[in-house]
């Protein structure tokens, strides 16, 4: 059991923080910019991608020893587009409003870099359970990023969140945030913030390691003295 839990913990840490598809890997930018016009659309898109990722990672991992290397990419694409088409049909049948809102971007999940990237980088080289969890983790990490961007754009650009008005009457929404330029503004600022956080975390780690190395060197020189930090 602990093996499963550690796999889950590791995959989720990668998907949400250390290897986040949006803020660290910078892949899947096109749907990120296009579907984050509202928190609801962003969430819907993110969850659709997560579903496709889970399916394609699992199937590709199951078949990884059978698919010859020469037809690897072609096979991945067949599996991924099958998953996307199935998702689109299921959404049209049971979630028609969300399907209408996301429109063309559902079929475009096929060319979302994240899915092929995870297939190539992870699912084709790892066992089924880790691959499945990786699909979920990367998908949810992507969803989190989308949801953040979508919320910011909707609140600033329309004054609402999930359709409910959350800004005071006096605030006149900056519609540009709902349009294409707003996507770039929001993404740029959020990436700057995450980069700063990443930099600070790395700095702190580097300083800690440098201090530890220094303390070790001190102890080596004066073994009889008490340890001071």
């Amino acid at each position: 059991m602990s093996g499963f839990l550690s796999v889950i913990k590791e995959r989720f840490k990668e998907g949400f923080v250390t290897n986040n598809p949006t803020f660290i890997q910078f892949i899947g930018m096109c749907p990120t910019l296009a579907t984050t016009t509202s928190a609801k659309n962003a969430l819907g898109m993110g969850l659709a991608v997560t579903a496709v990722l889970a399916f394609s990672n699992t199937v590709i991992s199951l078949l990884r020893k059978i698919i010859p290397s020469q037809v690897r990419i072609a096979a991945f694409i067949v599996i991924i587009s099958g998953a996307v088409t199935a998702t689109e049909l299921l959404m049209k049948a049971f979630l028609p409003a969300l399907n209408a809102a996301l429109g063309i971007f559902i079929p475009l999940i096929v060319v979302n870099c994240i899915i092929l990237a995870r297939a190539e980088a992870f699912a084709s080289k790892n066992k089924v359970f880790p691959s499945f969890v990786d699909g979920i983790a990367m998908g949810l990490g992507f969803t989190g990023a989308l949801f953040l961007i979508g919320s910011v754009r909707e609140i600033i650009g329309a004054g609402t969140w999930f359709g409910m008005k959350v800004t005071p009457e006096a605030y006149s929404p900056a519609t540009i945030f709902i349009m294409a330029p707003g996507a770039f503004f929001t993404l740029g600022v959020l990436v700057a913030i995450t980069n700063k956080i990443k930099y600070d975390v790395n700095e702190r780690k580097r300083k800690k390691e440098a201090n530890a190395a220094l303390a070790l060197a001190d102890r080596a020189e004066k073994p009889s003295e008490e340890e001071t930090v």
């Binding site: 010859p68 067949v78 599996i79 099958g82 199935a86 049909l89 299921l90 049948a93 028609p96």
Partner: protein, 198 residues
């Protein structure tokens, strides 16, 4: 590697994978075909019920041969007391972001009763405001022709979307006009008794 492994196996594996995926999709299609058709019908008739809350029966009628190709469906609406009007489902391609599908309700006086936007791809915050009641109600009561900037206010910053909706409304009015001409009004014939006065 043998010839089999390098030349024959890869296409074979790919073919099998394609076949399996196709099978999976066939299954999903069979499960979803009915709900999809139902959802599309419901979307069209839901709009009719919001325009005609008193509607008791909505019956599709044939679209005339020479009608505008933008007309996708026409319905005769009956309420509990009788004929209530027509509902026309129109798809205009002149929206800013693509097609706009709308249902126009026309009452017994051949004027617009209401307008529902069924689907669109307009920009949120701008063209998407065609969905707002304030804009749609601007078309109520129009009998001849909807003119943006004339008898209907445009949405500021979304002229193209507004004009597209007006075009749809006008197409609906044109499609329904001949139907009203055919209606023969009830005529009461009064019989006057003549008496010969000698």
């Amino acid at each position: 590697m043998s010839t089999f492994k390098t030349v024959v196996l890869p296409p074979l594996v790919l073919t099998v994978i394609c076949a399996l995926i196709a099978l999976m999709l066939g299954f999903v299609h069979s499960v979803t075909a009915a709900p999809i058709a139902e959802a599309e019908e419901r979307a069209k008739t839901e709009a009719v019920y919001s325009i005609f809350p008193e509607a008791a029966q909505i019956s599709p009628i044939d679209i005339p041969e020479d009608a505008d190709p933008q007309i996708k469906a026409m319905y005769k609406v009956k309420s509990a007391v009788g004929f209530a009007g027509y509902a026309v489902n129109v798809t205009v391609g002149s929206g800013y972001g693509g097609e706009i599908n709308m249902t126009v309700g026309i009452d017994t006086g051949n004027s617009v009763k209401g307008l529902e936007i069924v689907s669109h791809s307009e920009t949120a915050g701008l063209g998407a405001r065609i969905d707002e009641p304030a804009f749609r109600q601007g078309f109520n009561g129009i009998t001849e022709e909807a003119v943006i900037g004339g008898n209907v206010d445009a949405i500021s910053g979304a002229t193209i979307s507004s004009k597209a909706v007006a075009a749809g409304v006008n197409a609906a009015l044109d499609a329904v006009a001949p139907l009203f001409e055919v209606q023969i009004p009830d005529v009461r014939i009064n019989v006057i008794k003549w008496e010969v006065i000698s």
